[in-house]
Symmetry: C2
Subunit: 337 residues, 2 copies
Amino acid sequence: MENRSSKNVTIYDIAKRAKISPSTVGSVMNGTWKKRRISDSRAIEIKKIADDMGYSMNLQASSLRKDRSRIIGMILPMHDNRYFSSISQIFEEKARARGLFPIISSTLRDPNVEEEAVRLLLNYQVERIVCTGATDPDNIAKICHNRGVQTYNLDLPGTKAPSVISDNYQGSLTLTSELINRVRAKGQAKKRIVFIGGRAIDHNTKERIRGFRDSLVSAGFKINEEDIQTCGYATGKSEAVLDKYLKNNKQLPDGIFVNSTISLEGIIRWFNLQGFDQLNSIALGCFDWDPFAALVHPDLLMIRQNVPKMLSSLFDLIDQEETNPNILIQISPDILF
Amino acid sequence: MENRSSKNVTIYDIAKRAKISPSTVGSVMNGTWKKRRISDSRAIEIKKIADDMGYSMNLQASSLRKDRSRIIGMILPMHDNRYFSSISQIFEEKARARGLFPIISSTLRDPNVEEEAVRLLLNYQVERIVCTGATDPDNIAKICHNRGVQTYNLDLPGTKAPSVISDNYQGSLTLTSELINRVRAKGQAKKRIVFIGGRAIDHNTKERIRGFRDSLVSAGFKINEEDIQTCGYATGKSEAVLDKYLKNNKQLPDGIFVNSTISLEGIIRWFNLQGFDQLNSIALGCFDWDPFAALVHPDLLMIRQNVPKMLSSLFDLIDQEETNPNILIQISPDILF
DNA sequence: TAGCAGAGTACCATCGATGGTGCAAGAAAA
DNA sequence: TTTTCTTGCACCATCGATGGTACTCTGCTA
């Protein structure tokens, strides 16, 4: 290893040292040397010199010339979340396995940040973009398609690019019907199950509410509009919902469908203050998963989205260079008892 | 917005359209047009045309020419972990705030993957690299410094680049002494506190064990070497440790110092099977944090590393272009009751 | 009315890698 | 011995942006 002062070693430096032309060095370094009928001995010799000099290819220059970056971008709402970070983890592995270089940007569910992040990724010449949980996937698709970059939607669907999402409706049907079973098993006279969390405008929340309603209706429950509380994704919100519910009804619901672990955190905290005994008599289900949360409540139902399968499907689409915007793949989540 | 077929708009396309030279367009686009005495009217006119044509700068070309990428790389063990993902989140925000483009790669605590990831980042011409929890930060520092790229160590220290880490020793002293208080408060005759989790070769684990020992010794405890079980980071391992302890001692320890939430998960699961009552009589402390874990045990002690402060310190070093490898900043973690 | 400053812009080499084309030397065929 | 391949490499334009230099105008002074 030679001691380099500041500048990087280029194929020109190697060419000078080996007294051959830069293009020969280049073809040896990028593997196209057989096509150029460079002799094996020369190739080995050049590789050795390059190694000694600590050469590594400047991918900016290479991308510029080849008009291919092999970069695949992904935007997602945030890193510090179990669901999204497991998506990052698997996304990265799968991209690497395909020789793609993954770049992940978080956008805080803000459409402006999303657009900004996407534009920056485009400036770095990404070849594809995966939009995870994007608030406005169609706008992003439009921007990218103008630049000839294909997009894919994950977790939240769009109408301008293929989408892979969880089957929220089916998962919600399953979770709700199990909640109903548990409520019935306890044999209370008055049966009431409430839905807490999420945003009413959010596609996934809408689908889950649809499943919640359908399941309740088919079990003969009467839907009370006040029992669907899409109070958002912040922790404090769900606590306020419970406060209000208790004040209005003088008693707690028989079952709770919680829309995310973030809301669940608030609910558990609320019950911690109220006394845990009450919580144990309530059937509790959460459309999200957390390993510790499962240990808090004696029989908490949790839905875990099948992230490995979602990403397998996503990369199948990418491998097949699928561009049909009507494709919507829904992956069944798992229910955990 | 013009309909572009496939190729991107370049300054040459704009120049042709506006019937001016590419360099004029370029200087308008990168903000150096005042230096070139381009008239304001011309600049505005050119900007408008560029906007209409959907121009966006090719940063690969720009970086190549300027020999500046404004990319800052980070490697970290994994994404799907509360601690590391919160590091990613804040790292990204702070990098963006400085006009840097963050690229984060996970390396699964594998030194070969670490080296591979770093080499790839270097090929993309990163300007700095942050090594988070790297198993061999000095090797990475060597590789990067050869290429003229400064590195910084986070979470685990190195000897070839400035480091910012948690004050594991101090945190461990605090956690252990609080465990001792609790054990004493219960007034058991025989007092025994065990350490479970982590790797014996791992710097942070070593420091925590040092604090654990010192705290116990200064409180008059006798250290039993069997009570320090560095069984690794997998969940099943900590359960096996408890099994063995119970078999050898016919009773449980009075206190447990758990080295991470991963190990804690195994321990909680073990107690779930054994019956929770036993857990409640044991003083439990964990050198890691999880919001739900805090709700599992009536008075679980948790140490939360101060990620915001660690990253502030890290970026202070970056802003000051600090290169002194002897710098080691230790940030006190918080103890949560 | 040449001389000169400064405003406003164009020209061109450059960053590092790539791949089409050209071209010499040796081998094989005629 | 001349023609025809084949081997083995060098030359050079190119990707898009950048910035030093050169150049052409005005307008003004001596």
